[in-house]
Subunit: 407 residues, 2 copies
């Protein structure tokens, strides 16, 4: 079964996307691929034939260990969405020509919703033209919003980061013992999985966050202020976790209420940021308290120094499972995670049709939110807790965590 | 030598302030203090007789290990500044009455500039009234701006955190390979020690930050834009570290240019935040690039999960040295760190007169900044690198770092 494999990474960075790359790479090598190529900056780079030979860059087990600990896409990323086949067949002809030139037999794409759409279209075009190339999707997103998989690689590490830093923020926020409201903004435009992870902070050594606001529910500023005022009567230092994507009942994002000129940048991109800042100003104007806003910003998706070993292991496994499936002839599929049991936690991989996954967003079930709309219920904790377990010790050199970079 | 000791914590949180508390506590116990009391919320709590018996809360070696890993002040903090003795003697009479009531012989205060001012005034008043109580200052501040000490406990861990996350941010920021400017705002109102620590990120696996802006130098927005434009010609993804305290040549803070209503809050407190956001808007308006701002915010002072073992050890040592000195009869002194050598790094403690330290801010030497005003020179790296070395492994329980809290 001679021929080469190619793998690309796409969409937003995560802490464990390179662990999936390691999984694909090692499994392809073991199964006999002559070369394993990497697309630089995903499908966009492939169109310009920007590819590298991974076998020459990753040539020791230490390289693989560093790769698992390096955040953000080792191969670079892109946000390129393929046109419909009927709309522009030329781009598909070009891609398949490049793949043929490099004798590609197995094609892997690690990413989120848009990346699964890419695999869906490429495999469909391949079927139409009778190509022997196998196309497999490898899921990755901190947002955990992919359908048909129990969870996505990347979510566990981001959730662990959020749990760890929320505990630290709560310690910091309560130190003066006076009226103080700290509002922490967490990523997730439409799905509140990451914001919900703030609920993990509560434990025997931590009182937990006081209020969690998910984008799955409409946000009422008046009710929000009333809740804060009521909570502050019991204890003065309040910590709130709010999704960047919370929306008013009329459908506008809360951050649109801010007068920040930044909301739409020079390219017309809407930037969902400033929700916590807007709300902290709102509270300061209406209640007798000092306030502070904190944006976890990109740290929540690239803080590899506090990643979940469970997540890293599963990210590696879905990469390996994708290679196995492709070499066994599967195409147009995504590897999904299937939870077998919670206690003890056991999880395996399976295959799902890529067309059933692409472009669908999975949200937090409303029945996992308490009636007062302030907190997550036990079923969420049962779901999320196993995903943040255990650590992969970072390799510190000269005081800092060591990475591996594409040269 | 019967009698009791009391210890308090004051000012902003750090990751290692509790390691100094552990050092004071254990040394006082070993030297025969009958009780070691803790002031809750510093001198402000003491005035209301809010004190606890530390011996009953910290009763195992595991408690001490957790204490070393718990960020922010275990005893709570305050921002209370004592009046001049001549202005209000009554408050001093009250404090000494409370100390006498609890048979206090040794008094320790862990904090920054303001806290050393407190020790200075209390020891002076004690001298005036012939009190036998010994008053000792234990330095702590992430800002590293205390005079007469090589560095301050708390700085090394904050600097390590900044180095680690800047490396991760650089990986994240360069992933798309297109024009992008990421501006990271770092704490330090008047002294640039923390912002300078961004220079530590550069290494064989990291290209480092492209521009460092310290508050020690006037900030020219036009020159800033010109530098960014020039740098972006060489490589499109620029990462900039900027101090929250950078000022225009006319003395106004850059963040004052922002139209954010937040700059002065309801209590009239100036909040130095929004510098990175303002600059990222400025760049987006003037140059053909996307931009992003990141505020490290309170995470840089409370991220105990990535603290420096060197820092934690030294924080513990200054606590112990303060107890030793007080039991040997010293008063009105601060324990300072004295660097003996760099290669190998060796550091010991000494005593300095508190009146020589209080209310003085130590800044970054201008000769440690390069001529182009873009980067730190090797002498800074030689100074800072030893302070971020080694790790104290966090204790993870159920996926999250474990702390100890006052009950």
């Amino acid at each position: 079964m001679a021929g080469n494999a190619i793998v690309g990474q796409s969409g937003g960075p995560t802490s464990v996307i390179n662990s999936s790359l390691a999984g694909v790479f090692q499994a392809c090598q073991m199964r006999g691929a002559e070369h394993v190529f990497g697309m630089l900056h995903g499908i966009q780079g492939l169109l310009e034939e920007k590819i590298c030979d991974l076998s020459s860059r990753l040539d020791s087990f230490l390289d693989i260990e560093l790769l698992k600990r390096t955040p953000s896409s080792f191969l670079g990323s892109c946000r390129y969405k393929l046109p419909d086949i009927s709309a522009d067949e030329a781009v598909y002809e070009k891609i398949f020509e490049i793949l043929k030139k490099h004798d590609i037999r197995w094609f892997f794409y690690i990413g989120g919703n848009d990346s699964m759409d890419t695999i869906c279209k490429l495999s469909e075009y391949g079927r139409q033209v009778g190509s022997p190339i196998r196309f497999m999707g490898v899921p990755k997103t901190i947002d955990n919003d992919l359908d048909l998989t129990d969870h996505t690689p990347g979510y566990g590490s981001a959730a662990k980061y959020i749990g760890v830093v929320m505990k630290e923020i709560i310690r910091d926020a309560t130190v003066y013992g006076n009226n103080f409201v700290t509002i922490v903004e967490i990523m997730g435009r439409n799905a509140g999985w990451l914001t919900a992870a703030a609920a993990l902070a509560r434990g025997e050594d931590c009182e937990g966050v006081d209020l969690i606001c998910l984008p799955e529910l409409p946000f009422h500023t008046d009710r929000f202020l009333a809740k804060v005022e009521k909570m502050q009567k019991d204890h003065p230092s309040i910590v709130i976790a709010v999704s960047e994507g919370v929306k008013l009942p009329d459908g506008r994002f809360v951050c649109e209420l801010s007068d920040d000129e930044r909301f739409v940048d020079a390219f017309g991109h809407k930037s969902l940021t400033g929700t916590a800042r807007y709300l902290s100003n709102l509270v300061a104007k209406n209640l007798p308290t000092r306030t502070r806003s904190v944006e976890l910003s990109i740290l929540q998706r690239c803080a590899a120094h506090v990643s979940s070993r469970t997540d890293i292991t599963e990210a590696y496994q879905v990469g390996g499972a994708a290679a196995k499936a492709a070499f066994e002839g599967e195409t147009g599929k995504m590897v999904a995670l299937k939870r077998l049991s919670n206690d003890p936690y056991q999880c395996t991989t399976c295959l799902v049709n890529i067309s059933d996954v692409a472009n669908i967003e999975k949200k937090v079930p409303l029945e996992w939110i308490n009636e007062a709309r302030t907190d997550m219920l036990p079923p969420f904790l049962t779901y999320a807790r196993p995903l943040i377990q255990a650590e992969l010790t970072p390799i510190y050199i000269n005081g800092l965590t060591q990475h591996i970079v594409e040269e």
